[in-house]
Amino acid sequence: MSLAHRIIPCLDTDGERVVKGVNFVNLRDAGDPAELAARYNIEGADELVVLDIAASRDHRPTFLETIRRVAAELAIPLTAGGGVATVEEGRAILRAGADKLTVNTAAIRNPQLLTDLAAEFGSQAVVLAIDAKLVGDHWEAFVRGGSVPTGMDAVDWARRGVDSGAGEILVTSMDKDGTRSGFDCALTAAISRAVTVPVIASGGADAPETFLEVFREGRADAALAASIFHDRIQGLGELKGYLAAHGVAVRQTG
């Protein structure tokens, strides 16, 4: 008996539609979030993440409606985020039906936000999203959808974020994102070793072997992917069957 490793499909949206791109650019339409959510709920996803990557203030009501539509399809946990900068914005996302929220840019500017969110909703509801890229000999945290370097070491930031109140880390390798060349196990393991909270690995997912690697070498508690699931390159049931056959605890359905 042990905690299962989670497989988490991610819906990157422009607030309303699922979009996808490589290395955060060249976005194109990839479907309706509620339809995809319904499919993943049935196929055995362990959790769903829905992000508003545009995160513009004018789009916020649209995104909240998207969260409501997605949550209505799910009997599994839902994490949502994109541009959350205040406790009130966090509350709106949770009220719309999310169980957890991700914060990124605003937390780097103001780590107290993590503390305030944790005090209000509990740290189990606060996921710190870190977009990291190899710069010289270390990983640097980037913000604003990966476009702006912060000068901060991603591993240090993860540690400080947890000290401030984050209950989970979602680490995206910008070097690997959209490349289908495997997760960044070194980055994920470095963060996993640095913190005591669960770590979700993101960026680079491909064949089942890449998930096995990130759970073993990357010490990830969960792995997130988008296009390989959206495009039906990888089935969730088949992926979990592979992991179970290799001794990884996973929740198998049906």
Partner: protein, 204 residues
């Protein structure tokens, strides 16, 4: 039957409502003693902080009505923090008394494993369980918590192991609770909710 979800500002109330709707079960919300008194079955959902939950129940004058309903035999299901609220106290908020349906205290899980205990885990059944009837032994349920009841005497019917052994399902007479979120636990979670509804129907 009239099922009410106790409303005190907890976040997961709509997802519990949706889970009941999927089972074809209608529910209402009770946010004051009068509406609570009209219901013959109660669910206490919960996420967040033990102290905030108890303060919110006190502000709405719901503590005594809830305890009274339980002593009258009204079936009550506590979920996650709703399970923890049934105990006398919690490490999370040493100054705030719980509902006291069980005399033990809720503890912070030791930092042996990663915390919060977040994700899908299996149960270890130690006594016959009405909530788990028809649920496969190896089923996974969704947990998201850092505090837990390590002991509930005879009421502890199933346990989970993460950092420590803790109560995952408790049942005693008309009182039921799960540390996991049945409303987020896929088909097996729906089975647990359905079992609770059937127990409540049978008790009337």
């Amino acid at each position: 039957m009239k099922i009410a979800l106790v409303e005190y500002g907890a976040g997961n109330l709509p997802s519990v409502e949706r889970a009941l709707t999927r089972l074809g079960v209608e529910s209402t919300r009770a946010s004051n003693p009068e509406s609570l008194a009209l219901c013959d079955t109660l669910i206490l959902p919960g996420v967040g902080h033990f102290g905030a939950l108890m303060r919110s129940l006190r502000e709405r004058s719901l503590v005594e009505p809830l305890r009274g309903a339980v002593s009258r035999g009204v079936p009550l299901l506590g979920i996650c923090l709703g399970l923890q609220a049934m105990f006398a106290s919690s490490d999370e908020a040493p100054g705030d008394a719980g509902l006291g349906l069980f005399p033990q205290a809720v503890s912070a899980l030791p930092p042996t494993d990663r915390l919060p205990h977040m994700g899908w885990n299996q149960l270890r059944r130690v006594r016959p369980s009405r909530l788990l009837e028809g649920v496969p032994e190896d089923a996974y349920f969704y947990f998201a918590h850092t505090y837990a009841a390590l002991d509930a005497g005879e009421a502890g019917v199933a346990f989970c192991d993460h950092s420590a052994s803790f109560v995952a399902v408790l049942e005693q007479g008309n009182v039921f609770a799960t540390q996991f979120h049945p409303e987020k636990s896929g088909p097996v979670g729906a089975q647990v909710l359905s079992n609770f509804v059937n127990c409540a129907r049978g008790s009337r």
